[in-house]
Structures are given as C-alpha cells and as structure tokens.
C-alpha cells in the first residue's frame, strides 16, 4: 500500500509540471458545485493513472476493495475475484461506462484506454486468468448511449 501511494504522489507531480498550461485551465474549471451539497463541491487533483493497476487503485478499490473481493453490507459489492461474469471482456466494460445499480457510471471520467486497461487488469488479477485483451477501440461503441451527468 505505502509503495503505491508514493507512486501516486510522483505521478501527480509529473502531471503538474507536464501539463503546465493545460493544468491551469483544468484547475480553473475544477471547483464543481453541481446538484447539491454533494457535487456542490470542489474536486481536487486527480492522480494520473498510467495503467490498469493504477486505475484500479485510484478508482475501483474504494468499493471493490484492494483484494478484489468486494464487500457485503446491506447490499453486495460484487467480488471481481473469481467472478464468472468477467468471462466476456465486454461485460465489465459496459458496466464501467454505463454504471450498474448503485455503481456510478464512469463515462465522462475514464478514457477508452483507461477502461480497457482496467478491464484487462481485473480479468488477469485476483486469481482471474483471462488472456484475451480489450482494446480502447472496443470501448468506443459503448459511449454512444452512455449516461451523462445531469446539467441544467
């Protein structure tokens, strides 16, 4: 855990210097009062996520847990470890882009590459051994009717 956190800090610093001018604009638009006290907030810097492991760490494990085993509260957060629904790479990609029940949609946040990366990651970790790979091009068509955060 600690090693990966350090990695995050480094990635953020790289982003800060590499994106100079672009970073200024990103900052400018980052405070995000939206609906409510929820989104009526400010969203701080996002870690740069260079591969599937980093996407998993910075986005997915808040719910699916670092070991991919999910959790059971009053509802179940599905395990990714040993989940037969991962047999088809298109399924997790669809769920990530469109959301599923209480799970947020990541359309508008994760890029095609990041979706493909993390799908390939979860299908080849946590004891999963699927060898076929999803490509960013496979993700593109899922965008057509994907949900978009509500705007006025």
């Amino acid at each position: 855990m600690m090693g990966s956190r350090t990695m995050k800090a480094t990635a953020s610093m790289l982003a800060a210097s590499a994106l100079a001018a672009a970073g200024l604009l990103a900052l400018a638009l980052s405070p995000c009062p939206a609906w409510a006290d929820a989104a009526a907030n400010v969203t701080g810097a996002v870690p740069v996520m260079k591969d599937g492991a980093q996407v998993y760490q910075h986005v997915c494990q808040g719910c699916h847990m670092p070991d991919g085993k999910g959790a059971v509260g009053t509802a179940t957060i599905p395990a990714l470890a040993g989940n037969p629904k991962l047999a088809s790479a298109g399924y997790p990609a669809q769920v990530i882009v469109h959301g599923y029940g209480g799970m947020p949609f990541f359309n508008g946040y994760l890029s095609d590459t990041q979706v493909a990366d993390v799908v390939n990651y979860i299908r080849s970790h946590f004891g999963n051994n699927f060898t076929d790979k999803l490509t960013p091009d496979d993700v593109k068509p899922l965008r057509a009717d994907a949900p978009v955060v509500e705007m006025p």
């Binding site: 994106l19 980052s30 409510a36 400010v42 969203t43 808040g62 179940t76 509500e150």
Partner: protein
C-alpha cells in the same frame, strides 16, 4: 473586447480541456454545472381525516421520520423499521468515543476531545431550504450561523504563485480590479460603442471604477484604492507612524492564468450563498429533534429483505437483528420506503417493471470527509481565519474551519478535506488511517502548522459505509428524463422518498420535500380507497 462566452464556446473550451488535460478535467467541469438546489417548500402538508389505516415506513432518516410525523398527525397508524441501531440516517455526527467499522474492515476510531465533532454527512443549511428550517423551528432545534464565505481564507494552486496559497481577499481584489480596468479600457477606446449606447457606457465606466477599486484614470494599481480592498502592507495604526502603506497587487498575467477565479464563482451559487446555518452542537441535533417526535415508532436493527404488495396491503419481511436474527413480517395498508436506491436495487420489491428500472437507474456518488483535530486553533490565532473555506487543487479539495467555539483554547476540529468525484474515489480506496495521513500532507501546503499541531483525525468514505454504500443519488440526464416521474409516483401501495426522489439531491431539503410529496400521494390514495 469579446463578448461573454456563449454556451457553445464554453462547450468548446470544455472539450479543449478534455483533450489536453485528460477526461478527468472534463468530468469535473461537467459536474460543476448543476441545478440550483433551491426549495419550493411553502408550508407543511395539511393532511387530515386519516381513518386509522396503517403505514409501515422503511428507514428512520429525515425522510422517514418526517413521513411518520405527518402521517401520525393525520390519523394513520404508523411504524418505522430502521436497519441501524440509531435514527437519523445520513444526518449524524462523529464525536470522541464513536467507533465504526467500514466495509473492508477499516475502523473509524474517533478520539476527539469532549465537545468536538465533525459532521460526515450534511453540515450546512442554506437560508432558502425552507422545509428543513421550518421543521428545525417546529422541533426546537437550535441553529447558529455557518460561516460559508470568508475572504481571509486561502486559495491554493500547486502550479501557480509558486505553489504558495493566496488570500481570497487579495486575489478577488486583483481579479475584480483588472477585469474592471480591461472593461474600462475597452469602453474608453470605443470598442463597446456598438453593443452599448452612450449612456450605458458612461454608467458602466462609473460602475467599473467603483466595483474594481480603480483610480481616477481607470487603472487598477498599487495605492490606497486597491488596498482598501486587498489590505495593506503596513496596516493603518495610531500615533506618528500610523500611516498605512499600500500592498502590491499581483501581476495581471498571474491573476488571469492562475485560474483561482473559479473559486469565486463557487460562493455565487444559489445553494452556497450566505446566510447558511448549522445546528448548535452537531448536525445530528436535527435527527434527534425529529426522533423526539417519532422515536416511539421506530424499531431499530430491522434489516428489510423483501417488500411485497397486493390488493389488500403491503407485507415487509425483515430480520430482527436485536433478537437473534429472527425473521419477521410486518403488514400494513401502505408503505413509505426511504431505503437508499443503492440498497433497494438489490432487494426483492414488488413494484412495476418501470419502477424497478427507475430504482436501478440512479447510481450513488462517492464522497469522503476528513475531520482533523488540532491542539489549538492556529487558523484563528496565527492567521485570523474564523470559519469559512479554503480551496486547493489537491485531492482534499477544501478545508473548512469550524463556525463555532471561536477564540476558545484547547483542541479544535476542522474539516480537513471534502471530496466528490475522482478525488473521492481515490481517498475511498485508502484505509481510514491513510486518508488522514494524506489529508495532513496536503493540508500542510496551506497550513505549515498542521504537522506540529495535529492531534488525531478521522477519514470517512461514504462508499464504504455498510448501510448505504455511497453518498447520495447521482442522476444522469437520461435517468432524470426516463425514470424520475416513475420513481416519485406512488406504485399502488408503495411510495418512495428520500433525497434521491427530488430535484434537491444530496441535500436534507430534498429528503423532506420528497417525503412531503410521498405522504400527500399516500393520503390521497388512502382517502380515495377509503
């Protein structure tokens, strides 16, 4: 002088950012453009003539408790089933001695000194959230001002002004001043002759001089005009050496490029405008106020597993966790269900297919809050910050200083981070201890005293809270269009309520407004069926 960006050029700007800065920036930009979360509340529901029919209410949050209060008053026989061993739902407060285990096994162990607290859920009430204010008044919940807007807080960007935080006041003065100067220049050079008539231009010039603290030549420059806004290098004093010396504005280039102007717009949002309030002693004083009215109706530790209905009534199956996990059923004529959709979507619920689709259509946002206790109020003692919010482009996003206990000695708790979106996903993925550690490291960029003065802290991630597994409903454009009406319309004998069933999502006001709509529908239905 170009005109204000139109909606389409704004979209182009956003898409340009999406290209150069990654889609995350796009996501953030999009989520800031939301609904103005006001309230259409005018008066409490006036129901009467209930004929003793029974209502089972699922959930003892504010929506459920309000429904119970109004329905009992109207003559219904009411009971509430609540999963937790407490009432209030997301309306709650963490104090020293509290201990929670989150999903994944992390332990939130609160070690605050007596009297200190943090509100991990709702924490402030806008003056126009009339319903929540109405019921606070009715239930005797004492409110005090919540300091939302404080011009002496910090704006911090890691990439501008050398990473050094700047006072909101200084930045706002300079941004306003330079903007006014530019507009004045455009007018004086005849560049606004076309869009604005002579009289309007004269008015505007005068307004800009006033608004921007410009000198007689319409310049924003170092001097007493500007320092009356941004403060002085040497503050005005008494005696022979009392004359003030003006402070030096930042360069226009730095001001514009820094992007810090976005944080000024934050306070202009309808839902963020002063006056705001907080309950004296912690947000859960509101939940307690509601519980004083209807606490006798609540069965705690009741885990609902199934909600069925037929022509004759509703049957709720639940596990009685307070009595060895016994299986029980409760029958009633009607049901008000306030269970969060993130949970409800995995339950067996006998409603129309359209309603089931609606329940499954609203994902829940992730949100993280950090409550940090320090040995002393260094933000007050060293920096003259009394309440309000500092902003940063780091993950923690903002730091909010307590709006109560000013000038007191001893330890105090501030909100060391409040995150939604990408930063919330990131922090939720850490252990509670790591959240605090990263919060401290990031906060130290604004307050070097952080590390020396730190005492203890908590990191609360809503996506890991077992009884909701998320913070609040996140409507997409499509879901709102396709499912909102269905979700909020009574389905035979079952009606839903909660912030998710409103246009004031994620606010307590939304929970109350949806509850009022639910009991009105229920009453109408019950009268008609009577």
């Amino acid at each position: 002088m170009t005109e204000a960006p139109s909606r389409s050029t704004r979209r182009q700007l956003l898409s340009r950012i999406g290209m150069v800065a990654g889609t995350a920036a796009m996501y953030q930009a999009m989520t800031r453009l939301g609904h103005a979360a006001g309230s259409d509340f005018t008066s409490p529901p006036n129901l009467s003539g209930g004929k003793g029919q029974s209502v089972v209410i699922l959930g003892a949050g504010l929506a459920g408790m309000l429904a119970a209060y109004e329905l009992r008053k109207a003559g219904y026989k009411v009971q509430i089933l609540e999963y937790q061993n407490r009432s209030g739902g997301r309306n709650f407060t963490l104090r020293g001695g509290d201990r929670y285990t989150e999903l994944g096994g992390g332990v939130i162990d609160v070690k605050f000194a007596a009297g200190n607290y943090v509100n991990p859920g709702p924490w402030r009430l806008p003056y126009h959230h009339h319903a929540i204010l109405h019921y606070c008044r009715e239930f005797g919940v004492a409110l005090e001002p919540f300091q939302q807007f404080n011009m002496n807080t910090w704006l911090h960007s890691s990439t501008t002004f050398g990473g050094k935080p700047q006072r909101y006041r200084d930045y706002m003065s300079d941004f306003t001043g330079y903007t006014a100067e530019l507009l004045s220049k455009a007018i004086n050079q005849g560049k606004l002759d076309d869009p604005a008539g002579k009289e309007e231009r004269e008015i505007l010039l005068e307004a800009m001089r006033d608004w921007g603290a410009l000198d007689r030549d319409y310049r924003y420059v170092k001097g007493l005009h500007a320092s009356n806004r941004r403060g002085f290098d040497h503050e005005p004093g008494g005696g022979p050496d009392g004359a003030p010396t003006p402070s030096t504005p930042f360069s226009r280039d730095d001001v514009m490029k820094s992007g810090l102007w976005a944080w000024m717009a934050f306070h202009m949002n309808y839902e963020m405008q002063p006056t705001m309030f907080q309950p004296v002693g912690g947000m859960d004083m509101i939940g307690r106020g509601f519980a004083r009215q209807v606490g006798d109706l609540v069965t705690h530790q009741a885990k609902v597993s199934k909600i069925a209905q037929d022509d004759h009534g509703v049957t709720v199956s639940w596990t009685d966790m307070a009595h060895g996990g016994a299986t029980r059923t409760t029958k009633a004529d009607f049901c008000v269900c306030t269970i969060p959709l993130s949970i409800l979507t995995q339950m067996e619920v006998e409603v129309s297919d359209a309603m089931l689709a609606a329940i499954a259509a609203v994902p829940y946002a992730s949100s993280v809050k950090l409550g940090l206790e320090f040995k002393r109020r260094f933000w007050e003692e060293d920096e003259a910050i009394y309440g309000g919010i500092s902003f940063t482009d780091q993950g923690i996003s903002q730091i909010s200083y307590p709006s109560h206990g000013y000038f007191s000695k001893g330890p105090a708790v501030l909100l060391g981070g409040y995150m939604f979106g990408p930063a919330a996903y990131d922090f939720a993925g850490m252990t509670p201890e790591e959240r605090v550690k990263h919060g401290l490291q990031q906060g130290a960029a604004l307050h070097p005293q952080y590390l020396k003065e730190f005492s203890n802290g908590v990191g609360w991630a809503w996506s890991r809270v077992p009884w909701i597994e998320g913070c609040c409903g996140t409507w997409s454009e499509q879901a709102r269009r396709d499912h909102y009406k269905t979700l909020t319309t009574m389905d035979r004998r079952i009606v839903l309520a909660g912030e998710h069933a409103s246009y004031v999502g994620c606010w307590q006001e939304g929970a109350l407004l949806s509850s009022i709509s639910a009991v009105e529908q229920l009453h109408k239905r019950a009268q008609g069926a009577g």
